[in-house]
Assembly symmetry: D2
């Protein structure tokens, strides 16, 4: 099955999560994906920093986008493991996620995701995410 | 510093995250905490199951509640690592989190969190969460 | 396929890793397994504490023993993920591992493993381990 | 405190673990480190592949080398968390580890480590490792 394009993935995410603010998919080619989540004050937690759940959700979505770009529209792919390290306080601004595939296997896909504030070079969080893939 | 009571923690979470639906804190004694997140259709993801972010957020909050019950009101405690395994599809119903402390150190607290649907005995997810603690 | 007994698992581990000091399997019933690794000065690292690799290896072996007790002799089961938190310095003495199954699925088994020094009640390390299972 | 050089780290590891086969440190500059573990048949597990513990130990040592290159000789730095994904069967040959620093904080250092067989470009394992640093 052919992978989805970045534009198709962005529209697919918006359809799958109606009402939620889904990220822009700036790039996705089966090996690497880059997403951008626009800043919204609702993502803040006390102290003026983006919340951990906002970052975890974006990391998970970035890996999902990468999987979709690798193997096509698979609504049944599910996360089996997500491990995230929070490294620095993100700024109250857009959040960028860069996902890269570590292994695309028959039944599992493993990728790493680096998150950073749009104005920063250093990561605010780093995640490793495993998806279980449906038979195909 | 004395730990917070379950009732105080529940009110504290509601104040810290205004507008969000924060969980009930059914028990918290510094060694163990039990939280309940009431079901709301907005938590659903395609396929009629609770979303991963809903579960990750509850796991993180359960560990935060456990930390607050152990060392008192510390708004500056932050998650440094969260590792979660998704085990079974949760039901579209209330979600229960049971957190227990593995180590309460000087600068780090490590706990494990088991999540299950309210009507089920088997966990739908299991997380290990590390918080960095402020000097105290 | 029937699960292996504790005695069979202990002999199987010794055969699979000739020359290595393999742990005793004190209990294994498909849901829970308990192993004991006898102390040997070679396991020490500077400072007189048991080395991290000794603990990681025992955690992995304990989950392997649990899998064997659940589904029988499967030499092709392989670890896909191991996440371990080191909590306290272990004593220079026997090390006990208690593994319990979180999920035994068709293609993945997930378990948690608590490690403690034989004379202690508190864990020195805690791991979550995922094995990939061969078709059966 | 100045960081250690690659040559000093290699000698330091050999002194700290007498009797063990410690890896060569090919590069270490505080931001990145590259180690090579020479192949030895004792590292094999059934099936002719390098054992998981061999890979976990090398990942941990690579992060330790990176920490030493960043902050100098700190025998009291200890691993607090290691999370490893096993991606592909390594070949029975030399194993290369590339560690890079994600965050060097006051009390914690977080790095990622990619492991590959010497003749391969693709990783056989990927780890994220956290060290607790002594006051300095």
């Amino acid at each position: 099955m052919a992978g989805m394009t970045a534009a198709d993935i962005e529209a697919f995410l918006a359809r799958q999560f109606p009402g939620a603010k889904t990220p822009k998919v700036r790039h996705a080619d089966g090996r690497r994906a880059e997403l951008l989540l626009e800043y919204h004050p609702k993502q803040l937690r006390p102290g003026g920093t983006l919340s951990g759940p906002t970052m975890m959700t974006l990391a998970d979505t970035a890996m999902y986008a990468l999987v979709l770009s690798a193997i096509g529209e698979v609504p049944l792919a599910v996360t089996t493991n997500l491990s995230i390290n929070f490294l620095r306080r993100p700024q109250p601004e857009d959040l960028v996620a860069e996902a890269s595939m570590l292994k695309l296997g028959r039944s599992l896909a493993v990728g790493e995701v680096s998150l950073r504030s749009a104005s920063s070079e250093e990561p605010c969080a780093h995640a490793v995410v495993t998806y279980s893939l449906p038979p195909r």
